[in-house]
Each structure stands twice: as C-alpha cells, then as structure tokens.
C-alpha cells in the first residue's frame, strides 16, 4: 500500500525474519535470486555469515509453502 | 482470464459466511452477475470447482442470475438493452444512456447445512 496517499491494497505485505543454517556464499546468492523470482516476493535480504534472512512478500500472491520450498531446494534449514 | 480472480473472491466470501454460521457444507451459492462484467459463466464454474476442492464449498452449486445491461436515455427517457458497449441512445442524436442495471457482481445468498 502507498503509505503517502493511502492507495493500494489495505491488507498489506508480510515481513518474515528467518534464522537459516546451511548457506554458502554462492548458495546465499542463489536463494536470494530464487526467492525474489517468486511472484509475491518484493524484498529479500540474506546475511550469509549468520543466516539472518528477511523477506517481504504478499501472501495473496505467494504462499509460505513456496518460500519454504526454495529453502528446501538449496538444502537450507530455516526457522522463524 | 479474470474468472479465476472472481472465483477466488466468491470462495472467500462463501467460506467467511459459512464459518460465521457454523456451516458443515455449502449446498448452493446464489450470484448476481451483470452483463457488463463480461464474465464467462463456464470458465467461472470451472475455476470455482478447482478452488473449492477440499473446502466446505466442494461440490457446491453456483446459481447465477444474469442481469442484463440496460440504460435509460437522458434525452428521450426510453430504456434500451445496451449492445456491444455502445452507450449512445439508438434513437436520439447525442443522447447518452445512464446505466440502470448490468454492473452487479455479488454473492447474493448461500444455502448451507
């Protein structure tokens, strides 16, 4: 939603912060790219060294299962 | 096309109202669909059936009341069925038709057990 003018979806986006184990420098970049490619995901930030993963997404467009699926694909263990 | 978005909207309303009324099963959903929306009922029913699987709306019948697109001319006052989105009066020059019906897109009622 546009906070300035108030226009847009009123249910808004969800921000999740995961603690993830199993990133390498390379896999962190791949996971970021894969997550960002999901239709409802708007923002991803991964700290490869401590596993802190922040995701902003629209749950109406992308399900949590799809996000967890990406972690699974790259053999990353993510918990909230 | 957008029949899927409409089916999602219908399912959400049906499940909300069904839950509030402790429904075990939704037998029928009554819909008012105006002609102006251009909704294809077959595509809508197909999308809805797919989405409703596994919910209390599985197997629910969609009863669609189609509302015709009718307008009244601001000049001559006569009412006409609007064809092909042509909002000019077929009889008067420069007469514009104000819409009386045909823009509805609502869930009218639910039949539940």
């Amino acid at each position: 939603m546009c906070k300035e003018c108030g226009c847009g979806e009123t249910n808004g986006n969800t921000r999740l912060q995961f603690n993830a184990k199993g990133y390498t420098e390379a896999s962190a970049k791949d996971v970021e790219k894969s997550l960002l490619g999901l239709p409802g995901v708007l923002y991803v930030h991964i700290h490869a060294h401590d596993g802190e993963t922040t995701i902003d997404y629209n749950p109406a467009k992308t399900k949590l299962m799809d996000i967890l699926g990406v972690f699974g694909k790259y053999e990353v263990e993510a918990s909230l | 096309m957008h029949e899927m978005a409409i089916a999602e909207g219908i399912l959400k309303i049906a499940l909300d109202y069904g839950e509030k009324n402790h429904a075990k099963r939704i037998g029928e959903i009554g819909l008012l669909i105006g002609e102006m929306s251009g909704v294809e009922i077959d595509a809508l029913e197909f999308s809805f059936r797919m989405l409703a699987e596994g919910t209390i709306a599985e197997g629910t019948k969609l009863s669609v009341k189609r509302v015709p697109l009718v307008g009244r001319c601001g000049k001559c006052g006569k009412e006409f069925h609007i064809e092909h989105y042509d909002f000019w009066c077929p009889e008067c020059k420069d007469g514009v038709l104000t819409l009386l019906s045909g823009r509805e897109m609502q869930v009218e009622y639910l039949e539940v057990d």
């Binding site: 546009c2 300035e4 790219k33 995901v41 | 251009g38 869930v107």
Partner: protein, 219 residues
C-alpha cells in the same frame, strides 16, 4: 438454511477494470498501460511509437497527468486520437477514470490503445485499468538500483524499456547488473534497451506491440 449475503465479489477498482477488459475484448482493442517515473521518457517513447506504427496499426492514446495537457498536445501532432485525463492531484489512473474516457472513443476502429499513466513508479502498479498488459519505462539516468527498490512495477509489467541508452557513457548505470536484477524479480521478462534520440530499440518495441495486437486478434 439460507443466508443472505449481498456482498460485492471484487474490490471496486477491480470490478470496473473487469468491465473495461470485457469492453476492450468486445471491441477487439489491445490495451497497454505504460508506467514509469516522471521524466523516464514515456511520452517520448510514445511519440516514436506513433511515428513508427502510423499506417500499420490504428492507434489511440489516453494520457494521465495531475495537471496540464502537455502530453496530449505532443501526441496530437501525430494525428492520433488522444484524450487527456487530469487527476488534479491523484497519483495514478484508476479503472473508473479510464472507463469514463474510453466510452468517448471509437474503440471499434482501433487496434491498439496505449494508456500513459501518471509519472510514478509506486502506485500505478497496484491499479488495473482493464489493460491486456503493463509496460514500464526506466531511464538509465535514474540509476541501476531502481528495479530492486520498486519491485512491484517490474513484476507486474510484461515489458521493460531501458531508455536513454545513448548517454550510457556519461552515466554510472551498470546495465548488466540492472538487467540481472530485473530478471531476478521477473524471470523471463522482456527487456529492451531504447533511445528516443537515436531510435535504438524502437523497432523491437513496436514489433512486440504488433505481435501482441495480432495475438489478441487471433485469440
């Protein structure tokens, strides 16, 4: 047991956008909603488009701005039907605004209708107006970090035009990085480098439009 509901299925804007879509489908017009920041080059791209496709496609334009009819006046010079919508402060065009003016156009005589949205990389992406596709114009002068900062408009659009590439040598724009970010947000998105000054990329953009028009006609 019968429960009276009487509830609208779609949000108001989506409902009107659906009506517009049905109307455009009935008239056989392909509609694209063009978005971008103020100064990205949306109107310039349209001027080049009018020049290039005149005679090949029957076109019309709906211009959206807070104030003035400057953009409509630029398009008028190409002898193409154009209507200006002034929002008087509204930051985006919505379906109702487009429905009001589209009713005044001879849609049956058109192949392609281009809606140039208000200059804004944020709000327009949230409001369908009944288009077949959205497009975004990003000027390379805006910076290569913009796609990640404005993800929704890139995810929602079917095509991105990276404009003003003739002055790439004078800017800090990392083309490879920007394209990688755009494709990360929207895998498979069509991205075209264009310049309204040199004409680069305009053919590719126009051919894409022609293909979309033909596709809708067939479909």
């Amino acid at each position: 047991m019968e429960i009276q509901v009487m509830k609208n299925i779609l949000g108001e804007n989506d409902r009107i956008a659906a009506e517009n879509q049905a109307m455009f489908r009935d008239k056989g017009v392909y509609v694209i909603n063009l978005m971008g920041s103020p100064g990205a080059g949306k109107t310039s791209v349209l001027e080049k488009t009018m020049e290039r496709l005149k005679g090949e496609l029957r076109m019309a334009v709906i211009e959206g701005d807070l104030f003035t009819s400057k953009d409509a006046e630029r398009i008028e010079k190409y002898d193409v039907p154009v209507i200006q919508i002034n929002t008087s402060g509204g930051c985006h065009l919505d379906a109702a605004m487009v429905q009001k003016v589209a009713g005044k156009m001879e849609l049956g005589d058109l192949d392609l209708l281009i809606v140039e949205n208000v200059g804004n990389l944020v709000c327009p992406a949230e409001f369908a107006v009944g288009e077949d596709a959205k497009g975004v114009v990003l000027s390379i002068t805006e910076g290569d970090d913009k796609p990640l900062k404005y993800p929704l408009v890139f995810k929602e659009s079917s095509i991105a035009l990276l404009n003003k590439v003739d002055i790439l040598p004078y800017c800090n724009f990392d083309m490879k990085s920007a394209k990688a970010d755009i494709l990360a947000l929207h895998p498979g998105m069509k991205v075209v480098e264009v310049s309204c000054t040199t004409g680069q990329g305009i053919d590719e953009w126009c051919n894409w439009l022609k293909d979309r028009v033909a596709e809708k006609r067939r479909g």
